[in-house]
Amino acid sequence: MTVGAILAKRALLSLITLWLLSVMVFAGGQLLPGDVARAILGPLADARAVANLDRQLGLDRPLLIQYWDWISHFVLGDMGQSYVYRASVSTLVLAALGYSVKLGAVAFVLVVPLGVAGGVWAAVQAGRPIDRIISVIGMSATVVPEFVTGIILILIFGVWLKVLPITAAWPPGAGPAVQIYYLLLPSLPLVLVLFGYLARMTRAGTIEALAADYTRTAVLKGLKPHDVLWRHVLRNALLPTITVVATQVGYLMGGLVVVEILFRYPGIGSLIFAAARDKDFPLLEGSVMMIGIIYTLSALAADVLHALLNPRIRFSAAE
């Protein structure tokens, strides 16, 4: 199989995954008890008005037709109208996504070097106290919910030390530097949650590479330890890490919901939360699908990178 064929197969599987996801998300929306028009118009509305609105929203049609209507518009970028905001879901989702990407980017810029450095350090010191300390800290940081670490960090840096702002809402017209300053505290809970996974995978990859034959060859032919580590070990050890980083985009999305609520940040997490609270199903379906698309694309990107960077896959494909 060529690299192209492998990637085409993965892309096709991603499409099937997204289609199944759309069915599940749509089915989730249908579980809503009661009548959507009744929910919008309130308990005192006239029954005829409710029936009219149902017809206007197309809710009196068979489910399959409703699904087809939703998904066929969706793939063209039209996610329908929000019940609550009376605005295009696509516009709302894209605006919120812009905010979330900023927050996620700050978190990633911080966590990738930290996690890789922590993992490599732990691997080089494997079995010694430093290794144990990094592993336990990484594990603890990963398993504690984001809102818990977020609140403890707000208390320390925002309330007691007063060095960082406690909301993510920067003043209007703020430049990139000020925005990053406001995003530091919200990004830290995400950094902590991601750090453990990243450090653990990097540690495992590095230990494997340190024990490999090519590393022994490099040491025996007289290369300096520094060169062995950078040129032979890390190049191989970081391969699985790339996959982890890409799949972590998915974990990050879960954390965003909580962190954005905690810091009152208008990203896609806050949007999903508001849509779920208000039972605004077009908005909920649209924003949840967007998360699924981002996750699936990042998993696909991980596969592509892995195939391109791994000489074993690259060369076996060339045969």
Binding site: G28, P145, I151, V258, I291
Partner: protein, 273 residues
């Protein structure tokens, strides 16, 4: 099995985790007998009092004693998270045994559905489901259990795949044992270690998720003294320097999840040896 137990009892990580979890379990069961205040009783005149000799952890905005609420607050999460995990295990083991043993079309189809589910973070799936059916203790258990089921099934399936072609399974088939018998009496006992490891890791995730859902208002409902719920009711106050209703509850959540995961870590390394 006894060898594994000896390794476990000598593992500092495992014992440390078990002690923390045991402490909170005792608080959940007997805590109400020891606290000096009724965790549900309002005392508006003494609202938001800082920690003192009378109220060790201070009082919240309704004047309720935070110490009593933290102690008794262990109860709901230690009911909901283990029950959700148990439901997930029950469904996941059945699904995993069936897909791993029969393979074929069902296996492929279930695999695709699991991939689609995994394309969403657990908190978002739960939010979507709970928004649709309404949040209560029971629905939280069901939603987390049902979402866990395919994830657990994947682990069970992998374990079944390495067992199904072994001689004892072929022998059982030749003895004309029924499929259900082969799955649950022959194969299941041999994959218990994988299931135990999976169960403890899942329990950690369940506590993480229940706490998070309670914090965003889609989990355990008032007037429960649940930790995540207490944090969501009081975290707006920390701007004004009122930290005590929040801090002790967050520390409680952090200690419980770290405890469960230390125990899980210990079990995992004991079973790997």
């Amino acid at each position: 099995m006894s060898g594994r137990w000896r390794v476990l009892l000598h593992s500092g990580t495992f014992m440390c985790g078990v002690l923390i979890v045991a402490f909170w379990t005792l608080c959940a069961i007997f805590g109400h007998l020891f606290v000096h205040f009724d965790p549900f009783e309002d005392d508006i005149l003494n609202a938001l009092g800082p920690p003192s000799a009378v109220h060790w952890f201070g009082t919240d905005q309704l004047g309720r004693d935070v110490f009593s609420r933290v102690v008794v607050g262990a109860r709901d999460i230690l009911e909901v998270a283990p029950l959700a995990t148990a439901l997930g295990l029950l469904l996941g083991i059945i699904l995993g045994l069936a897909t791993g043993y029969f393979r074929g079309l069902i296996d492929d189809a279930v695999g695709r559905v699991i991939d689609a589910l995994l394309a969403l973070p657990l908190v978002i799936i739960a939010l979507l489901a709970l928004a649709a059916i309404g949040a209560s203790t029971l629905t939280v258990i069901v939603v987390i259990g049902v979402v866990f089921a395919p994830l657990i099934a994947r682990t069970v399936r992998a374990a079944v795949l390495s067992e199904r072609d072994l001689d004892y399974v072929a022998a059982a088939r030749l003895r004309d044992e029924g499929t259900v018998h082969i799955l649950f009496v022959e194969i299941l006992p041999n994959i218990v270690p994988s299931i135990v490891v999976e169960a403890t890791v899942r329990l950690g995730y369940a506590i993480f998720t229940v706490a998070t859902l309670s914090f965003i208002g889609f989990g355990i409902q008032p007037p429960s003294p649940d930790w995540g719920l207490a944090v969501s009711q009081s975290y707006g106050l920390i701007n004004g320097g009122i930290w005590w209703p929040v801090l002790f509850n967050t520390v409680a959540i952090a200690s419980l999840v770290v405890g469960v995961n230390l125990a899980a870590d210990g079990i995992q390394s004991a079973f790997d040896e």
